[in-house]
Amino acid sequence: MAENLSRVLTERFPSGLEVLSDAPGDETVAVGEAVLLDAMTWLKGRPLDYAMLLDLTCLDERPLGRGFTMVYHLLSLSRNHRLRVKVALAADAPAVGSLTGLWKNADWLEREVYDMFGVQFTGHPDLRRILMYEGFEGHPLRKDYPLRKRQPRLKERTPDA
């Protein structure tokens, strides 16, 4: 199964796709930012049928000398199979196409990644913060966000002695 999958994928996308792992249960592919939407559209349709977007998250790998990495987890209900798709993004002003057109639940997931990491999703219908409050500056899960930085929403009082 795993061998078959990586063969199918590399045949369909000769460039812009790299199989990182074909260990059963841990299938991972890296996709170029340019072909992400094409690849996802194809993965969602026949024959692979990854109908469900399980999760979508991000890594800040700038301390390792790379940029940001988007990670998508797909599930094929008909074949009971999972696939992880990674997309490398730039270190400054990371941006990637939105998947809201393919999976509705990408809406809030992408808003969370935007809130926490500051990744811009082009084509997202309503890209604004989802967890942090209005007036919050910066993106708290970025590695360069100061660990002890506080932005109180209300003016804090001095506790009684």
């Binding site: 966000y145 506080r150 109180p152 804090e156």
Partner: protein
């Protein structure tokens, strides 16, 4: 009882009346709520101490139980609830998160609700056992009993 009479100080009577008729407003946000439920239900029975009547409007309550983590995003809500309560009112910080932010020393969590509103009793524990909650309640009752009438007005 002809000719019988009692003497007392007015504050003493007021404190006695107040401490056994605490109407509580539980502001529950996290896992401490499970311990609150346990304390409020029949086994530990908060009602034995006169604090059994849960109000679901802060305007009718005089004891605010802040049970669980208060995030920065939630801070204005808690402040509004506190402001809506009528005097006299008392605040209990229930659990380590409400007391000091607990393990969540990060960008999202208020480092103790006393940075937002005055707190009367701190009950530490993650979460506190019902016995600890009852102990805290009894300490609050002692505090209410010994309050001077003007004490509250000077505080805020």
């Amino acid at each position: 009882m002809k000719g019988a009479f009692i003497t007392t100080r007015f504050e003493h009577m007021l404190g006695w009346a107040r401490k056994y008729s605490l109407f509580q407003y539980p502001f529950i946000t996290a896992c401490c709520g499970i311990e609150y439920m346990s304390t409020a239900c029949a086994h530990y029975d908060l009602d034995r101490f006169g604090a059994g009547l849960t109000r679901f409007s802060p305007r009718q309550a005089d004891m605010l139980l802040v049970v669980g983590t208060i995030t920065q995003k939630l801070a204005p809500v808690l402040k509004t609830v506190y402001d809506q309560m009528t005097e006299p009112k008392w605040v209990v910080a229930f659990g380590t998160c409400a007391v000091s932010g607990g393990i969540y020393n990060n960008y999202a969590v208020v480092q103790g609700i006393d940075r937002l509103i005055p707190v009367d009793i701190y009950i530490p524990g993650c979460p506190p056992r019902p016995e600890a909650v009852l102990d805290g309640l009894i300490k609050l009752q002692e505090k209410i009993q010994n309050e001077r009438p003007e004490w509250r007005w000077r505080k805020t």
